[in-house]
Symmetry: C2
Subunit: 155 residues, 2 copies
């Protein structure tokens, strides 16, 4: 089968590389600032990562099972719990994603009962949104005088 652009496995590996960067951004925040620091009335980084957690695995779960999942944005109470939840999501995402047949990426689905688009576009939304909010975390860290992890390092 000729590959158009990239394979499902390549997309997952790319996303997991970006998710490793997000994890390092969570780690770079001092515990209190992770939950309280804000610029211009925006959500603290813990809440932005809770949004990412509310999208990734629940999205993959609905794609695999067909059951409509709910969007629930809830930040774990501590940095350690947030990192543990992040790692759990890493494993769950791999397990769920690998059950999706390649021909399903062009299928149209309605996610969380309201967002309609192809399976690939749902995953792209999750990735684009994670990049968008992680980039905001970089500004928070810089404002706090903390050097963020390099964006290009995906290992």
């Amino acid at each position: 089968m000729p590959t158009a652009v990239l394979t499902p496995a390549e997309l997952l590996a790319h996303w997991q590389g970006l998710r490793r960067v997000t994890r390092r951004v969570i780690e770079a925040f001092p515990e209190d600032q992770l939950y309280t620091f804000s610029i211009g009335g925006m959500r603290p980084f813990a809440v932005l990562t809770a949004e990412m957690l509310a999208i990734g695995v629940p999205m993959a779960k609905q794609i695999v099972t067909g059951e409509v999942t709910q969007f629930e944005e809830k930040a774990p109470a501590t940095k350690a719990e947030l990192l543990a939840k992040w790692d759990e999501a890493t494993t769950e995402l791999d397990a769920l994603y690998n059950q999706i047949a390649p021909e399903r990426f062009g299928e149209t689905i309605t996610l969380f009962g309201q967002y309609t688009g192809t399976v690939w576009s749902q995953f792209f939304y999750a990735i684009d949104n994670e990049n968008h909010h992680r980039g905001q975390g970089y500004v928070y860290l810089r404002a706090l005088g903390i050097e963020p992890p390099p964006f290009w390092d995906r290992q």
Copy 2:
């Protein structure tokens, strides 16, 4: 030909949708703040968008022509010129990208004389990086008390 994940045309359309959001973020900045506003020593948004312009079209040009292009980050001097340059890049990107044969997306190339990866991963870097920096522009706008354009609207 079965589609794996998405087609080259779908990737371009997705990117151009995201580029329309970036254009609206440029538009949302007052002219002076576009060139001067910064948080934590970061580059002003005009310079971040100059980086995007230095990546997108030159990347596509090298992929099409095989000639090594140089990375040159240079912000046009005014907001009007920056927007004009953005629109020019929109047209050039379409014209260049559409000359890339689908089977080339898996080909490994070295960009700007130093970044080695598949053609698809080069485009993904450009898109991820644009999301990352546009997200930073959202923080700048919020800090300036300006409502950014909605991230989900790609029209």
